[in-house]
Amino acid sequence: MALTVDQVLALAPDPAAAAAGRKLASGSSWQSLGESSAAYWGECRGSAVYQVRVDRGDLASKCSCPSRKFPCKHALGLLLLAAGKPLPETAAPQWVSEWLEKRNAPKPMAKAGTPDPQAQAKRSEKRAERVLAGLDLLDLWLADLARAGLATLDESSFARMAARLVDAQASGLASRVRRIGELVGGAPSWPSLVLDELGLLALLSHAFRRLESLDAPLRNDLRQMIGFTMEKEEVVAAGDRVLDAWAVIGQQAYEDERFRSQRTWLHGAQSKRTALVLQFAAGRAAFPEALLPGSRIDAELAFWPGANPQRAMIFERHAVHPSFGDRLPGFDDAESFLSEAANALSRQPWLDRLCCPLRAAVPFSSQDGFLLRDAKGAVLPLSGLDHWKLLALSGGRPVDVAGEWDGRRLYPLSAIANGGFHSLRSET
């Protein structure tokens, strides 16, 4: 079974590459097209002839074109062709098989420098001091805000505070402060939202100062939220490792000037666990792992340790299947999801996003915005302004919807209507 067009387009590094790939798939001349269980390949003729090949295992691609986008338009075009109808099954030409061999050759292990334990201990002690000094500044700043009142809030003071936290090596807190600043003056209810967030920030600072009295898992969460990052090797060593068939149920991508980031939610068929994979890519480079919405990957995930572990990374990938099925694994009503959410918050009160896969729910629009009604009639408000594609898919009838729940509203990421999986992210 082949990938869907939606899935291929989800790989595009930007809308221009997606559009160019679509154009190539239906409007260009291709030759030497072929596929095997390991790869797709073909030669695309434009002003020159480019040889493009894609590894079916992880969807990594290589093309002889000079583009610095990954995957390039030729690779996207090739995948779109393969999505339309199977390519001829032939023996791979040399330029494909050599590439595959090179990819599968065992990689020499990166030589890790032997750390100097003494220097390391000194560094971390120094960092702890800096972070604590940053927390002192934060507490003072928060107290000033509380004394003067939110009515007098000065937006620019958030950026200044965030910069100081960066200096104090507390990048997690810094971005939290920046995000709160962005709320100021926004939605009509912003004072209430800002108060909630400032309160959570104060709780975070308060908790970190009594870190030693907390359970180890929550200590991990707090350190991560402050900005102590864990190396991959540490995650693999310290966290749960779960081998399962993971359904890729929703994905959200963001872009700023230099970085693209991506949040992908997975659901394990056996473990029933939810995993959140965060990925980053510079410029138009590809994300390290191709995670296609609607697909299923058989893989071993490593979870970041915590009181309610959900962030994870792909430790080892075994196989990809284009579709995880025609129903969403998840909750049959909002109530069971909400009670699960309450349990998660009781373990880790700062969770600001939870995955909510809700089956047989009906989206509709009202004067107060978009809403999603479960099979029992309970209604969750949707965040965001444009959910017309979801409404069009449903036609006022039940569909399966996966979204992100922020404690107040649900942001829909994907839907299954009539057995077909649809990403709801804005069209590329």
């Binding site: 067009v5 559009a19 239906s26 409007g27 509380a146 479960d374 309970a378 017309w388 069209e427």
Partner: protein, 479 residues
């Protein structure tokens, strides 16, 4: 709002020193905490409690969309259309919607939001039959999609729109009402006619072309005396198309002495009055010619263009080809005007041939372009194929072909494919967009693989791409 904590936070602890979030949460705060700490920790605890304690309200659902009778198009067709939508390929979209309709399929629901947001009238018209019940259902949910809602407006809303709508809305209402109930539409127009501004009167009058009938005559006859020049120019063109109208009889009695076959040669003689009668002027013949044209030529052209061309076959006892062959440029111009007004294929072919033989002029080029769509497709194809073979005739031919509705007939498309080598880039660009799928293979076979010049290479690539895109579309929709 009874949120004491938020009130305290807005005012600041300098003014509200003992914030509270209710006994249960208040008890969680350490006793030694300052007023500021207390406020913030309470806010944090309450935020967690709110998130964990969300209670969803229960609400009834609005009506679902009715079941659709038409099947949805294939995913491949949907992908093509989705791409055309995002690239705003007007012509390809139009072709896709028409092909979808012919295949008795509808758009897949996920394409509907983008399709409903199209603003082009021609595309919207082509979309209506392929939106399905789902599209009409969505149309009811958004003001800017209401054009697709498929509800005939009630009579009372008609009147309201007519009284308070914008002129575009009023014009749209008049046209749609005219298509369903022509008399009611005319009466609606009459009811406010006297109070409309001149430019509105002229615009609204064009709606009467829809469903024109003898019942309109007395209104139109009165409009011949309108204050507005534009109204006076349009009205005779409407009355002339009513076979038994008083204006038609007046024009034909004038025509009876206007033209005569000269006995000595196949040439037509004209006898015009020396002075223009006021009665002629009332019937739409303007007195003052544009610059560079003689007054009598001008009167003749205007008069001829209001007379049904078949009249001359009886009057002169000649067939269209003979009449056209004996006509000079003024006569050709007048007869072309008449053929365009009365839309007669035989006369269009005769005049097309006569214009081709006539000396080159702006009028000749415009005439060829305007007449071509009126010809029978086979007749049009025959003439175009010959024209395209002659380099100096190719440009006017391509211009004329651009006016033909797409897609071209199979026969014409194949004829054009044969003419493509040496036919020029304009012909190629037009042909790949308009030809019928039957000719795609033939066209692709005659395209040169490469061109030295990069700009030409781009045109070639674009032509191939268009052919393949259209090919994929038709393959999907007519398997």
């Amino acid at each position: 709002m009874t949120d004491a904590l938020l009130r305290a936070a807005l005012a600041g602890t300098a003014r509200e020193p003992m914030p509270s979030a209710g006994a249960a949460l208040d008890a969680l705060v350490p006793r030694e905490a300052s007023a500021e700490q207390r406020l913030l920790l309470l806010a944090g605890a309450r935020a967690v409690a709110r998130r964990a304690g969300f209670r969803p309200p229960a609400l009834p659902l609005p009506e679902p969309a009715p079941e659709d009778a038409l099947p949805v198009c294939s995913p491949k067709a949907a992908e093509l259309i989705s791409w055309f939508l995002s690239a705003e390929e007007h012509d390809l979209l139009l072709e896709a919607f028409k092909a979808l309709r012919a295949a008795r399929q509808r758009l897949r629901p996920e394409l509907l939001p983008a399709a409903l947001s199209l603003r082009d009238e021609e595309l919207r018209e082509a979309l209506l039959p392929v939106l399905g019940a789902r599209g009409a259902w969505l149309g009811k949910l958004r003001e800017d999609w209401s054009w697709a809602a498929g509800v005939a407006p009630a009579e009372t809303t008609d009147l309201l729109v007519w009284e308070v709508g914008s002129h575009a809305e009023r014009f749209a209402l008049l046209r749609s009402l005219r298509a369903q109930r022509p008399d009611a539409a005319r009466q609606l127009l009459e009811s406010t006619w006297k109070n409309e501004k001149a430019d509105r009167r002229a615009l609204f009058l064009t709606a009467l072309q829809i469903g024109l009938s003898a019942a309109d005559e007395s209104f139109l006859e009165a409009a011949l005396d309108d204050r507005s020049v534009d109204v006076r120019a349009l009205t005779p063109r409407l009355l002339a198309r009513l076979p038994g109208s008083a204006l038609t009889r007046r024009m034909e009695s004038r025509a009876a002495t206007l033209l005569r076959a000269a006995p000595e040669a196949s040439r037509l003689e004209v006898s015009l009055p020396a002075e223009l009668d006021a009665a002629w002027e009332r019937d739409g013949v303007l007195r003052k010619p544009p610059q560079g044209m003689g007054a009598r030529s001008f009167w003749l052209i205007q008069t001829l263009s209001l007379i049904r061309p078949q009249f001359w076959e009886q009057q002169l006892g000649q067939d269209p080809a003979d009449v056209a062959a004996g006509a000079d440029e003024d006569l050709l111009q007048g007869l072309t005007g008449a053929v365009l007004l009365f839309e007669d294929a035989r006369w269009a072919a005769a005049l097309f041939d006569a214009l081709l033989a006539a000396p080159k002029s702006d009028f000749q080029r415009a005439g060829l372009r305007e007449l071509l769509p009126l010809l029978e497709p086979a007749e049009a194809g025959k003439r175009l194929e010959q024209l395209l073979k002659k380099p100096h005739e190719a440009l006017p031919a391509v211009e004329a072909m651009a006016a033909l509705p797409a897609p071209w007939s199979d026969q014409l498309s194949l004829q054009v494919a044969r003419a493509l080598p040496g036919g020029g880039w304009d012909l190629l660009a037009l042909a790949v967009m308009r030809a019928s799928p039957k000719a795609f293979a033939a066209m692709e076979n005659v395209l040169p693989p490469f061109d030295e010049q990069p700009s030409n290479q781009r045109l070639l690539d674009r032509a191939r791409e268009t052919l393949r895109l259209r090919g994929s579309l038709h393959q999907e929709l007519h398997p």
